[in-house]
Symmetry: C2
Subunit: 446 residues, 2 copies
């Protein structure tokens, strides 16, 4: 059987549980899927293919999965840092979202974000924001796989000035997703949080997603302050409160999950709730450190996320891997926690499980979708090589990604974007950011 593309001369990490790295490895791709993964001691042993890509001795692994971000917020990258969370939101983010953002800017920002994601080896992204029809259109152009979730909040929001419309907008968004799902883009719902959405909204939003068997995302227990607010309002811890409302199940993704009691951790495990861990954002906003080793020990599936570029300020999962591996060690005074191979699994296989995509992606094996990246090893900071997982987590960076494939299609080839026009995006962003800076100047001088 001739395949379409053969990626060879690679050190292949399949991320299948228990699998060893494959020296002289190859991945054969037919159409959108992986036809075979194997080893060839000599070039003669390679299967036939219409096109070949010599990985140059680099690492081939499943594409990274970013389980939580707000892509259009790249517009706000570096606009205001090092501020208290409330001040940052009320003085900058909320006014800019209300008075400046529009569908066209959401579309343009998403294209920029997609360019950054692809260059950093992300092949699947879960977004949660507003004007998500625009996000979906932009991601479709980029070729990325995605779960795009329309934001729901019981406050005026971009594109949804009257909160009473929020579920109607979300339902219409879900119902218009058919064509996109054929392109690997699922449509979902993102309830902002249990303190910005009332109980009825949470239940109805969950119903929308349950009826369609798609993920339901929600910020959960990010700060101590919000936990206190929910306790005062409901008498319950936030996860317990959500459970009483019936919104915790295997298709619920709890984002952040920082301030959880051990009872809540156990509750998430019992309900099969997934967790998206965003450590760079949690540190930058001084939110706290999520109990990831504890959640993993209870069997909770955890993926990594970057959060939005307004609170990170990048969409780089290599940074999240490095921080995840280091942070929990010092937090628990235990250098053996979360070893490198475990952390790579969070960013790939487990990330796929978080998004209910584990049947399609997350590991390299015959029959799965061909979502993979090639990391260039022949560089000073990745030399010498004893353990490829260690390098991915503790030494590599986004810029080491040389090629990126999604569903058998190259999105990055020799570090060049194939689907997106970077100069055009840059020009659009430069003009828009001058405009936003002027808008913010006016805010400062009322």
């Amino acid at each position: 059987m001739e395949t379409d593309v053969l990626i060879h001369n690679a050190l292949v990490l399949t991320l299948e549980p228990g699998a060893s790295p494959l020296l002289n490895g190859y991945v054969a791709v037919k159409g959108a899927r992986i036809a075979a993964v194997g080893q060839a001691a000599s070039p003669r042993d390679l299967p036939p293919a219409r096109a070949r890509l010599d990985a140059g001795g680099g690492l081939v692994l499943p594409g990274l999965v970013n389980t939580h971000t707000h892509l259009p917020m790249v517009w706000f990258r570096g606009l205001a840092d090092d501020l208290p969370l409330r001040q940052w939101l009320t003085d900058f983010i909320f006014p800019a979202e209300a008075g400046w953002l529009d569908p066209d800017k959401v579309y343009a920002g998403t294209l920029l974000a997609a360019a950054e994601l692809i260059r950093g080896g992300v092949t699947t992204v879960a977004d949660g924001y507003f004007y998500e029809t625009e996000v979906r259109r932009a991601l479709a152009l980029s070729g990325l796989r995605a779960v795009v979730a329309q934001g729901v909040v019981d406050l005026p929001a971009p594109g949804v000035p009257d909160p009473r419309d929020n579920l109607k907008v979300a339902a219409a968004f879900l119902d218009s997703g058919g064509d996109f799902s054929l392109q690997g883009i699922a449509s979902a719902v993102f309830c902002h949080s249990p303190y910005t959405c009332g109980p009825e909204t949470l239940q109805k939003a969950k119903e929308l997603t349950r009826a369609r068997q798609v993920p339901f995302f929600i910020h959960l227990a990010e700060t101590r302050q919000e936990v206190e607010e929910i306790r005062q309002k409901t008498g319950l811890a936030p996860a317990t409160y959500l459970d009483r409302l019936g919104v915790l199940d295997e298709l619920t993704v709890a984002v952040h999950a920082v301030w959880l009691t051990s009872e809540e951790q156990e509750l998430l495990a019992q309900r099969g709730v997934k967790v998206s861990h965003c450590p760079e954002s949690n540190l930058k906003l001084a939110a706290g450190v999520a109990p990831i080793p504890e959640l993993l020990a209870r069997g909770v599936t955890v993926g990594l996320g970057t959060d939005g570029a307004a609170s990170n300020n990048n969409l780089d999962l290599f940074g999240e891997m490095s921080l995840t591996a280091r942070l929990h060690k010092v937090w628990h005074h235990d250098p053996t926690l979360l070893n490198a191979a475990q952390v790579v699994a969070l960013a790939t296989r487990q990330g796929a499980q978080v998004l209910a995509l584990e049947k399609k992606i997350g590991t390299l094996s015959a029959g799965k979708e061909a979502d993979l990246i090639v990391v260039e090893l022949n560089q000073p900071h990745l030399t010498p090589l004893y353990d490829p997982y260690s390098h991915l987590v503790y030494a590599a960076g986004a810029a080491d990604v040389r090629h990126v494939m999604v569903a058998g299609r190259w999105l990055l080839k020799d570090r060049q974007l194939t689907t997106l026009d970077w100069p055009k995006i840059a020009e659009r962003l430069a003009a828009g950011s001058r405009d936003l800076a002027a808008f913010c100047q006016k805010l400062r001088r009322p």
Copy 2:
């Protein structure tokens, strides 16, 4: 006055206290020094120069200063991770240093490390290890500015099998440094720690450096365990103990400085002791979190260091900047601590002060040595641009460094190394690392 090199079309961060970013900025270099820093609204306003470099709208700032590392330990990068500190040292590092390392390998490893440093925008590095005559030779070839410190420890060490010779070796090292100092490489002493060096060794080593007015480096209070050991042995906290011995002064660099009482913090401030902060290593080894905001508040000068690649596992100061800015925020529940501009100052101006090089480097101003880097901004993850300090700390990576100059000489031009032969280094490291892996295999099967 015609200058030799003019770097123009740049956003210049001089790092002079209180200075604003210079739009349409330039830096003029004559010989090894900066002749002028300025702004030119039009190309006609640029000063004449024999050669020009168009920075392409990129950021120009002082080269980064890595205030602590063990360069030859790049050989051990990724050899053994995620282990308890003692097991890592006794099972891997100590046997490999004793039975495998030799001067030639120290030289080759330092060349590799230098390649990584240059590519990541480091222009000055402080090394502390053994066989430092080899480190000095390799760094001289690389063109990097450096403070190279011979290790002193009251135990058998690489190149110093009999500890009674350690001060003699250090003195000879200092006395042979003359030619290197002309090349920007100072020679110094690194006492491993107060728990591996006896009181007499510490005092005599400090005397050696005091007589020559060069820095004295020492690991201080890295782990709780060593603090306990020193307390049991001396009845004193480690910094207090060193002060009783008379080794704390303005030319002493305390590395790590994690477990300090507030009395010790005040003592370091009073004595003018400098601190090297190595957060990536401290987290990976679960050592702890250094009281950096507290030290800065007391007026202690703090620089950033990567530590060695065996405990990090990279020599990338962008990663240290990102972690420094984030870590102390979450540790103190305060998102306003250590803002981006402050952190860039730690990695440049304050790093220069830590190494007693503030008269020569650390800021861009006429008369200083021309040590600078150009960071490429025209990339998705650095778009849009509101605040260049924010991008350096929260979004940029080592790979964004496009050009590097030390003392008026390009060490990296368009991401290509000019002084080092990477294919040759890579070949040497590949062969050596196979040898080291085999050596470690034998250790595992005694």
